[in-house]
Symmetry: C2
Subunit: 459 residues, 2 copies
């Protein structure tokens, strides 16, 4: 177990004052993340500004002590685990620095919570599109570091698509400032979008200029039931091929529907697949958009389609999706929750392959999620206390990733890699591509002190 | 003047067969670009496939001879000038490899012309959003290399926003393969968007997976005249703050309107500023979208607003913009055509500043372009045969860039840097940021053989 050099501890205490702690209580509070793995950091730095972040990185670099950025600690991949490293909490850098409605941008510090930002923006009739399920707890810095998405990505894009500029501290302790308050830019290298999704391994984000969208006046929903996943996927392709972009387009496979019905108590007919389709817009155009979406949703294999004109009726349509979370917990104490992504046309093959894995490994696996992006959550449900189930669940995992890759997809659409999927990166990328990624890592973090052991596999 | 090592010439002739030429005719044909500067390459390689590109780069690397990728040769910044280097033409790698309508993607070789691709896609009811004025001549590879945009960027994004994956040959001759046929990706470093806009200095694109959009059924336009640029910019902010995104939102300043009226013969009233606003969509929603845009366009300082319900009427509204090109040529034989970008709220300050420069340097400068993105074309009109005008035009240029930067904007929204704006990169980025860009360059092109002397200033 590495320990913190005494000289560095003295330096950091002097630099950060009350922003430096290494007592057992703070180490325990920063020892886990949404992956449910635990690893205590060597200490917790809570810098107050970017200059402190720069000085912190330079000090750690001199001692070759790694740093791991931490937002809300909600990552499901272990990206925020800081064992053997200094955890850098952005809890004190949580201000919204500016909201410029005319430019549709917000300038924020990384520690602001996604939900708190949305609340502040709503007062201006604006929102920031990334909407992960953890919005109340996760931070904008974490969203950017992991390229977080959510259901609205299908219309509005993920975190990477909604950031215009960054200030970030690289592994040399230097502050790079790229992009800005403009929505079009052909000036120099796009380090902004490179740093986004690099999970704190290339630089620590200390400020972000976010691209905002107008908050829609209203939303309306459709729920369509299909004979099978192939019929639903064909509808997804039709929906995405017409100009009225849905604001959400969620899929549930037969296993999800059965679980939601039989365990979750959802009032829904049996079906081979389900689509939840949401449109947003203003009062004048929304009915037309919903018409267009309904026309596209109709086709071979459709069993039933229901329409909700307002939020309350919409909530009833979405009840089956909500029932799913409870139902999963009722039948299995744990799940391996993966977020593979495939081309939309390969959704049926993905769903079939997942059910074949469920049979082979004798465990329930359900598939649901963001169909418009081909980004399905495959949850392998199991009891970790049952050694057989535990072994089978973990044996099914590499096969799931192999399946997604064989269909022209990839490992993660919105959760990221962290430590959880790091071992599969060699399957997702060939050796020259991984070598290029490693070279970029070495360029921005020459001593490898930023979140080592994450994202890229060992050379 | 460097010359080609005989051993390399032999190697390349053997490798490429008829794809290698160094006669005077081919050197002359590849000696210029849209910048109107000229510099003959050492030879012209026209590889037939990615393996040849890899071998070509490795051979040149062994001899430390630089390579400059070339698409349609339409760059206005000198990015494709290959003096002292081997020009790499993608004229033989111009196939559309696949159009997958269900996944809304096209897989193309870099040499396909933008216009040819659009033609092929239209048959499937799809289009690729980047729409530079040079669409018939420029290539997709060139569009990606320079992050080309166009008027539709305001709704659909520029080249970087419409590419999902790349295969590209780095400066080591290795082929990296990143991204793919999925619209959501949180797997590893985003080299795709880093390579886009790097103007062939990081890697040569040999294949691209493009994100397509559904071709709208119909378009309709508005033309609004305002008292001044401030009133027009306020309307731009209102338009962009409501959910009905315009498919184009073009601005003309008072100098443009005067030129279009008095020299171009456009039938248009005098005004301080003009907006051309286009919506696209289906027949049912388009009138509503146009209503919403008209409501947003109305406000203090509006003089008149006209509406065109179909393409023919639309063409009449856009006639003033078209008249501008002819009118410019009529009053001045040359122009310095820049494409600075500022936050939307700073458009009035940019326009005022440009007119102050026009007075100070005693030359006509007109400002027009993509207002929704704050991306204005500032054309300095002058006669290069007049030594005084020539000197004043080139003296005004750094002041224009300084103005855009002082307003929180940047050097280029869609043309890129090339050699033309390379000298101003130190004004746009601080030293640590340029150092980080140089480190990334060295990571992917360790011997500096890819398009040297472009984009980044000397260290």
């Amino acid at each position: 177990m590495p320990s913190l050099p005494a000289a560095l501890e003295t330096e950091l205490a002097e630099l950060l004052g009350e922003g430096w702690r290494s007592d057992a209580a703070i180490l325990a509070a920063h020892g886990g993340d949404g992956s449910r793995h635990r690893a205590a950091p060597l200490g917790v730095a809570t810098p107050a500004d970017r200059a402190q972040v720069g000085a912190l990185v330079r000090a750690c670099r001199r001692h070759r002590v790694p740093l791991v950025a931490r937002g809300g600690g909600t990552s499901s991949t272990g990206a925020a685990l800081a064992g053997g490293a200094v955890a850098v909490s952005f809890a004190r850098m949580d201000r919204i620095l500016d909201i410029r409605t005319d430019d549709r941008i917000a300038i924020v510090e990384p520690g602001v919570r996604n939900g708190a930002l949305q609340h502040a923006l709503a007062a201006h009739g604006l929102f920031w599109p990334p909407d992960p399920a953890s919005a109340d707890d996760c931070t904008v810095g974490g969203n950017l570091a992991c390229n977080a998405g959510g259901p609205r990505t299908v219309k509005y894009g993920a975190s990477r698509d909604n950031v215009l500029g960054l200030a970030a501290v690289t592994g040399t302790g230097d502050i790079v400032t790229v992009g800005g308050a403009t929505t079009k830019d052909a000036t120099g290298y796009d380090l902004t979008h490179l740093i986004v999704g690099s999970e704190g391994t290339l630089a620590l984000i200390v400020e972000a200029t976010l691209k905002l969208a107008p908050l829609p006046e209203a939303r309306a929903s459709l729920r369509a039931l299909y004979d099978d996943a192939a019929a639903a996927a064909a509808a997804v392709a039709r929906i995405m091929a017409q100009p009225a972009a849905p604001s959400m387009l969620e899929f549930m496979d037969a296993a999800c529907i059965r679980l939601a019905r039989e365990v979750g108590g959802a009032e829904i007919a049996e079906a081979g697949a389900l689509l939840l389709i949401e449109a947003d817009g203003d009062a004048a155009t929304l009915p037309h958009a919903l018409d267009a979406l309904e026309r596209a949703a109709r086709g071979a294999g459709l069993r039933a389609i229901e329409r909700a004109a307002d939020d309350a009726a919409g909530a009833r349509l979405w009840a089956a999706r909500k029932a799913l979370s409870h139902a999963q917990r009722a039948i299995a104490p744990a799940k391996l929750n993966e977020d593979v992504v495939v081309p939309v046309s390969r959704i049926p093959a993905l769903v079939d392959g997942i059910q074949a894995l469920a049979r082979e490994f004798d465990l329930p696996i359900i598939a649901f999620g963001h169909a418009g992006n081909g980004n399905l959550h495959a949850n392998i449900l199991y009891d970790p206390a049952d050694a057989g189930q535990d072994a089978r669940a973990h044996a099914a995992l590499p096969r799931l990733f192999a399946l997604a890759l064989s269909l022209g997809g990839t490992l993660s659409g919105e959760h990221g890699i962290g430590t959880a999927k790091r071992g599969f990166m060699r399957d997702a990328f060939d050796a020259p591509t991984l070598a290029a990624m490693r070279a970029v890592k070495a360029a921005l973090d020459p001593d490898g002190i930023l979140n080592p052991g994450k994202v890229l596999p060992e050379a």
